[in-house]
């Protein structure tokens, strides 16, 4: 079963208490034998008594060690407070006990036994106090430890506890000399350890004062115990162990006293510089706060507020304000708005130039001096990126009140705030652009739905279509509509331009097509009506090109009209030749009146099985090589088609696109493009 700490602690206390009670018992019996029977010899062998004492020491120490592990991150002044408290409680307890024993007023042998009891209690309390302090000093010494300090401490602790073995023996004279050598070694180690006082600067001024007091009191408590215990030895009628020569206790006490005194002195010497250290700490925490504001992406107002607070408290300004015109921010502290106008005017007159921090200290520069009580003014421009945001002004009544440290601090604060504000701006921009991106993604999905997903052609001809916008959305459009069992309409259209505006017009074109196609118009009539419809909804510089085909699969005839769209390629299987279907036709939206009808014509061709029709948009023929600036062109497209007509139409289309991607040298076609293939 795994023992929990609390159980272990209880066990340690129990064992320590048992050991102590046995020690007390033995001492009582020995005293009794001494005073009544006059027997000087030990009642029990020295080794047993030593073992009991060691068990008391070790278990007490284990208890304290477990206790200290419970709260490892205690601040140092709390640790000292604990030592102080332990010392006080122990001393008080001992004092009350001795007072009580003297008040009871018994005498004779019983009094001797009482003395033995109080001695044992005092000695136990002293042990507890010493070990508590030892444990505390240990933590202080090992704060921000160096490897060297850890090694010395380790040796010291091992050596100290190994001296416990001396309790098992009665030491001879020569061994005592050896022990003095040990003492010297211990002393050196203690001196080495006593310089580890890195915790001292972390106490603030008030904590230092109370720590000094508490350390002094603790040392006095220790002195009281020593004096008290020595007083027992003065009584020759008492049969008690002489611990004054005990190496464990003497080394422990010397260590505690020396480290205590060295802490005391170092704290005292640190008192005058304490405020500097505290100020630095405060600055550091302000920096930290400002930095966290940055990472948290707090908004401008919070940053301004924070800046004014930090800056004015770090220079202990008597009054201050901060204004940012663009955002209508005006924060002021201990000053009226009216006064700020006056002072601001003065600052500008004194040569503040929105680029550099300005210190104004000469009182005679200020014409409002009769009213103003401020003799030092610090004007700090707030700059984010390259943009001048506003001004922060710190005012002090003292003359020449801003020293270099303050100025550089305030400068750093304002720079930090500038970064924070810029960060905030950037984050907002990212959020905004992310939003646009999402909107575009939606637009893309919507537009993709505008193009027919499945083309139902009932096996009378094969159909292949591929369309890709240059950006998320584009202006290319195609559609297929079945009018009757044998009649189909195919349209391909291309809105001038790219992107969102083209996409909107493409959607309009779809609306017009869907609206007009059911009327079963002739191709030229369709274009005339579409042109009229677009007149009112297309911006003046925009136009749309389109080709409209009416396919009759019963008569094998195609009637078509072209509105400025790229000429259709037609492969005739019988002649094994590809040709462009040349016909006149003006783009939609160019002429926005009745006369448009003069510019379109209707054509009719017959087709046979295995003929292939290729429709495309100008993205295909205008694909340009990024280096040579050469464009793909009509001729290449014609030749490609003629050489590849025997492939499946999927293959013809997909290979054409990958050829084009290679041709551009950039890996992609920098325009909307669409390719439609119909194989009869």
């Amino acid at each position: 079963m795994k023992l929990r700490r609390i159980h272990m602690q209880r066990l340690a206390v129990f064992l320590a208490a048992i050991s102590w009670i046995f020690l007390l018992g033995i001492a009582m019996i020995e005293q009794y034998r001494f005073s009544h029977l006059n027997i000087m010899e030990e009642y029990v062998p020295i080794s047993i008594e030593g073992a009991l004492l060691n068990s008391f020491i070790v278990f007490t120490y284990i208890f304290l060690w477990l206790q200290s592990r419970k709260n490892e991150s205690q601040p140092f002044h709390n640790l000292i407070w604990k030592v102080f408290l332990t010392g006080m409680v122990c001393t008080l307890f001992s004092g009350v006990l001795s007072l009580a024993s003297s008040l009871v007023g018994i005498s004779g042998d019983t009094q001797k036994l009482v003395s033995i009891f109080t001695f044992r209690v005092d000695f136990g309390l002293l042990t507890i106090f010493l070990l508590t302090t030892f444990n505390t000093w240990k933590r202080m010494i090992l704060y921000e430890k160096t490897r060297y300090a850890v090694i010395v401490w380790f040796l010291f602790e091992i050596a100290l506890f190994s001296t416990l073995t001396s309790h098992f023996f009665q030491l001879t004279e020569s061994e005592s000399i050896l022990i003095n050598v040990f003492r010297a070694v211990f002393f050196i180690m203690i001196m080495l350890l006593s310089v580890n006082l890195k915790w001292v600067p972390h106490l603030v001024f008030n904590q230092k004062i109370t720590s000094v007091f508490q350390l002094l009191v603790s040392l006095f408590c220790l002195a009281y115990f020593f004096a008290n215990i020595i007083s027992y030895y003065d009584d020759p009628t008492l049969q008690i162990e002489d611990y004054s020569e005990n190496i464990f206790y003497s080394v422990l006490s010397i260590f505690i006293i020396i480290y205590g005194i060295s802490s005391l002195l170092v704290i005292l010497f640190n008192l005058p510089t304490s405020s500097v250290f505290e100020k630095k700490l405060k600055e550091l925490s302000i920096f930290q706060e400002l930095s966290s504001e940055i990472t948290e992406g707090k908004n401008d107002n919070q940053i301004y507020k924070m800046l004014l607070e930090s800056a004015s408290s770090s220079v202990s300004a008597d009054a201050s304000w901060l204004e940012v015109h663009q955002q209508d921010v005006f924060l002021y502290k201990d000053i009226t708005k009216e006064d700020t106008y006056l002072i601001k005017k003065e600052i500008y007159q004194a040569g503040y130039n929105e680029k550099k921090l300005k210190i104004i200290t000469k009182r005679r520069l200020l014409p409002f001096q009769t009213k103003s009580q401020y003799n030092s003014i610090l004007a700090v421009p707030l700059i984010s990126g390259d943009e001048y945001l506003g001004i922060m002004v710190l005012l002090k009544k003292l003359t020449n009140a801003f020293d270099n440290t303050m100025i550089s601090m305030v400068n750093t604060f304002s720079a930090q705030a500038g970064i924070a504000i810029q960060n905030f701006k950037l984050i907002s921009q990212v959020v905004e652009s992310e939003r646009y991106k999402n909107e575009l993604e939606i637009a893309k999905a919507v537009q993709e739905r505008l193009l027919p997903e499945k083309l139902q052609v009932n096996g009378t001809f094969e159909f292949f279509a591929k369309s890709k916008p240059a950006t998320e959305v584009g202006g290319d459009y195609y559609d297929l509509h079945r009018l009757s069992e044998h009649e189909y309409v195919v349209i391909i259209a291309d809105v001038a331009g790219k992107g969102i505006s083209a996409a909107f017009n493409m959607a309009q074109m779809k609306g017009i097509f869907q609206g007009l196609v059911r009327l079963n118009l002739n191709p030229d009539e369709f274009l005339i009506k579409a042109n009229a419809a677009l007149t009112s909804c297309l911006e003046r510089s925009a136009f749309i090109t389109a080709s409209y085909f009416h396919i009759n699969t019963e008569t094998f005839k195609i009637r078509y009209a072209r509105a400025g769209h790229c000429p259709t390629l037609f492969y005739r299987d019988a002649q094994d030749k590809v040709e462009y279907l040349e016909t006149d036709g003006l783009g939609l939206g160019i002429i926005r009146n009745e006369s448009y009808k003069n510019y379109v014509s209707i054509n009719e061709i017959s087709y046979q099985k295995n003929d292939i029709m290729m429709l495309y948009t100008d993205g295909i023929v205008e694909a340009q090589n990024t280096e040579t600036k050469e464009i793909y062109g009509f001729e290449r497209l014609h030749d490609y088609f003629e050489n590849n007509h025997d492939k499946s139409i999927e293959n013809i289309g997909n290979t054409l696109i990958s050829n084009l991607n290679n041709f551009t040298n950039a890996g992609n076609i920098n325009d909307d493009f669409t390719i439609l293939l119909i194989k009869f």
Binding site: G564, P567, D584, G585, L586, G587, G589, I590, R592, Y599
Partner: protein, 117 residues
């Protein structure tokens, strides 16, 4: 793209150098606007050094057709290379915008248009 404009007698010549794409079409549009504001009626577009034209470039010419008709402004494009002319032709613009080979031809054409009215 670069645009130079100058008068040759009653003719206002707009010379287009380079590629006419979406961004440069705005410059051309400004140049035409300026000519209209200067009350120029006979505009000649020198396309000898026009290497490429995109849809927005075409839009500059098409967007003003009706406006010019109303204001009795006449324009002729001349000196186009085959590639650029092909773009106009595919769109059917060769039927509505006068496009000729030489500057002199263009002037004659404009004169004729002027006299007709």
């Amino acid at each position: 793209m670069e645009i130079t404009t100058f008068n040759e007698g009653k003719y206002y010549i707009i010379k287009i150098n380079g590629e006419l794409d979406a961004s440069s079409s705005l410059i051309l549009d400004d140049a035409i606007e300026e000519a209209v504001n200067k009350d120029q009626k006979l505009l000649l577009f020198d396309c000898e050094n026009l290497h490429y034209i995109s849809s927005p470039g075409i839009g500059v010419f098409t967007s003003r057709i009706e406006d010019h008709e109303q204001k009795k402004i006449y324009l002729v494009l001349y000196g186009m290379n085959e590639k650029v002319f092909n773009v106009f032709k595919i769109l059917g613009l060769d039927k509505i915008l006068p496009i000729v080979n030489e500057k002199e031809e263009a002037k004659i054409l404009l004169n004729g248009a002027l006299n007709k009215n």
